[in-house]
């Protein structure tokens, strides 16, 4: 009886300690551990927010089997930078929203953050952001990739993104004719 009671208390204490912690530990598919501010994680990721609220956060590292260590490092890096960033002057001055589009231009640090990534890292990060329900990070990474496509010919796009052309010559000619005008503009 005594022992059981002691165990219960220990469990209680551990739970309290866990709740008090202001970071969560995330574990990548290849077993690396990363710590991230609980507040930032909950604010930036709907999936992590749900896990934190539902108590399914593991103190020894919450398994994120779908995300590799490099992508997870970038996710955590983004969360930490986001937590520390104060809205830039540019953002404040452009806060009058003239556009109906819900997208807000990336801030300077967000732009730099995605600019330094390799293609591989960028695509992995997009997937991680999508998986974790990180709306803003998804927005910023998708924006970056779309910027890489703008004004490019199909050939250039295939080259940049390493995509195989799976059309037959005839099919290609047909589509080109149908969309001829789109190739004269810009």
């Amino acid at each position: 009886m005594e022992v059981d009671k002691g165990k219960g208390e220990a469990e209680e204490t551990r739970k309290v300690a866990e709740a008090d912690r202001d970071t969560v530990t995330l574990k990548s598919s290849d077993g690396k551990l990363f710590e991230v501010s609980k507040e930032a994680a909950a604010r930036l990721s709907t999936v992590l927010a749900g896990m934190i609220a539902g108590g399914s956060i593991d103190d020894n590292g919450t398994d994120l089997k779908q995300i590799g260590s490099e992508a997870l490092e970038n996710v955590v890096d983004y969360c930490n930078k986001h937590a520390n960033s104060i809205p830039s002057a540019a953002l404040i001055s452009s806060s009058i929203s003239f556009n109906t589009a819900p997208f807000k231009e990336p801030e300077e640090w967000e732009r730099k953050f995605v600019d330094r990534l390799s293609h591989d890292a960028l695509f992995d990060l997009v997937e991680a952001a999508n998986f974790l329900g990180m709306e803003r990070l998804l927005d910023v990474t998708c924006h970056k990739i779309s910027e890489m496509m703008k004004g490019k010919s199909p050939d250039q796009i295939r080259e940049v993104f390493n995509i195989k052309n799976d059309y037959t010559k005839e099919e290609l000619e047909e589509i080109r004719q149908e969309l001829a005008w789109a190739f004269y503009d810009d």
């Binding site: 452009s94 009058i96 929203s97 003239f98 556009n99 109906t100 589009a101 997208f103 231009e105 390799s118 293609h119 591989d120 960028l122 695509f123 997009v126 997937e127 999508n130 998804l138 998708c142 924006h143 990739i145 779309s146 910027e147 890489m148 496509m149 703008k150 004004g151 490019k152 010919s153 199909p154 796009i157 295939r158 080259e159 940049v160 993104f161 390493n162 995509i163 195989k164 052309n165 799976d166 059309y167 290609l172 589509i175 080109r176 969309l179 005008w181 789109a182 190739f183 503009d185 810009d186």
Partner: protein, 401 residues
């Protein structure tokens, strides 16, 4: 080609983005991505993420992406993608060129254009990426400048009308998913014998029905031109340039689902110059008291028809006027939830005013050598059946994109 009427559209459509000039959607933001081709595994992205990326591209880029590979074509032709892409397009305002032909520098974020030769033919309505213009009495051309599809709606003349008005409004009839045009026209009542009686009616013209449907008697006093109505909650509203609205001092409302008319209250007496616009999810009325002052009313409670004076703007700076001519009527449209563009159909500069900060953002917002139509346009690649179901009339002049 001499004598060909040229229709301003997409690359040739003269419009300005309804946003601050420093933010533009394909605005040459430093895309200096010079990475070598190796490695990128964009093929592994799921369709949802790929669609999210491609929906951010300008329309012409999306069309070019269809050529890249089969899966990109599949993603970019999907209904949900087309809707998401259209929802992301910026709002633009269509401009009417003053001189012919003159390209406007793209640096000003104005697209180059081919103006129409006929000064009396111009875009009447803009809805969901579609533009409607009257070609001649009773014949309306409809086009999607983004997909470059065009046709005409069934003609109102010579049957059933002997003469037709220039259109009242264009709307989506939700339950049928059909785009329809409301227009007035005059019928000759032959039964009256040697002295035929002329009667004016409203008609509904739909692409799927060859003959326009007669709706109700229309005011017999000829109007100048029905103003383009403001759509709100599936109802079209006319405030000023509409014979009944003028006579009764009420606002005329047309329910686009039931296709019935009614009158609604409006905030000010009928002599004040005013125009209707949508402001931050409400109907708004700008009452122009003078060139330097105006009141903004908002229909706070639509059902109870309760108007509220929301903003009183005084001491607006005088705009630089077109040929220094006095601007007789000023008009207002919103450019977001908190800003309005104040201009005049005859003036190629406009003012932009921030309602929240209560200050002028641009005193002389340059529109190039063009005047504003106050028609708001957003690009859309959504395919509409009406272009397939409605054959072109031999009378329809070709639309040259």
């Amino acid at each position: 080609m001499v004598g060909t009427r040229r229709y301003p559209t997409t690359s040739s459509l003269l419009s300005i983005p309804l946003c601050s000039p420093c933010l533009s959607e394909d605005g040459g933001v430093g895309t200096q991505w010079m990475m070598e081709a190796a490695g990128g595994c964009i093929r592994d992205l799921c369709d949802g993420v790929l669609a999210d990326i491609l929906a951010r591209l300008p329309s012409a880029s999306v069309l070019r992406c269809r050529v890249v590979c089969k899966s990109w074509r599949r993603v970019t032709t999907h209904r949900s993608f087309l809707a998401a892409h259209a929802a992301r397009r910026p709002r633009e305002m269509i401009l009417r060129p003053q001189f012919y032909p003159k390209a406007v520098s793209t640096r000003q974020r104005l697209l180059s254009f081919h103006p129409c030769c006929d000064g009396f033919v111009f875009e009447r309505y803009s809805l969901d990426g579609l533009l409607v213009r009257m070609q001649h009495s009773g014949l309306f051309a409809i086009c999607n400048p983004t997909t470059r599809q065009w046709t005409n709606l069934p003609a109102l003349t010579p049957e059933p009308c002997c003469s037709a008005g220039s259109g009242c409004g264009f709307y989506l009839h939700r339950s049928s998913g059909e785009y329809r045009l409301l227009c007035d026209g005059i019928e000759r009542n032959e039964a009256a014998g040697s002295n035929p009686e002329l009667r004016r009616y409203y008609y509904i013209i739909a692409a799927s029905t060859a003959r326009p449907r007669r709706l109700a008697r229309a005011p017999s006093n000829p109007s100048l031109l029905y103003e383009a109505p403001v759509a709100y909650r599936g109802v079209l509203h006319w405030l000023y340039y509409q014979p009944e609205a003028r006579r009764t001092g009420k606002m005329l409302a047309f329910d686009t689902e039931a296709e019935t008319f009614r009158h609604m209250s409006q905030p000010i007496d009928r002599d004040t110059k005013r125009n209707l616009f949508e402001l931050d999810g409400c109907l708004g009325v700008a009452a122009v008291k003078s060139l330097t002052s105006l009141d903004i009313w908002v229909l706070e409670d639509y059902k109870m028809e309760r108007w509220e004076l929301r903003h009183r703007i005084d001491n607006l700076p005088m705009p630089r006027l077109y040929y220094e001519r006095e601007v007789s009527v000023s008009r207002v449209i919103s450019v977001g939830s908190d800003a309005i563009l104040i201009g005049s159909p005859g003036c190629y500069v406009a003012r932009m005013y921030d309602l929240k900060e209560k200050k002028v953002i641009y005193r002389d917002f340059e529109l190039g050598e063009a005047t504003p139509t106050f028609l708001v346009f957003t690009e859309s690649l959504v395919r509409h059946e009406l272009f397939d179901s409605c054959p072109r009339s031999p009378d329809l002049e070709p639309i040259d994109f």
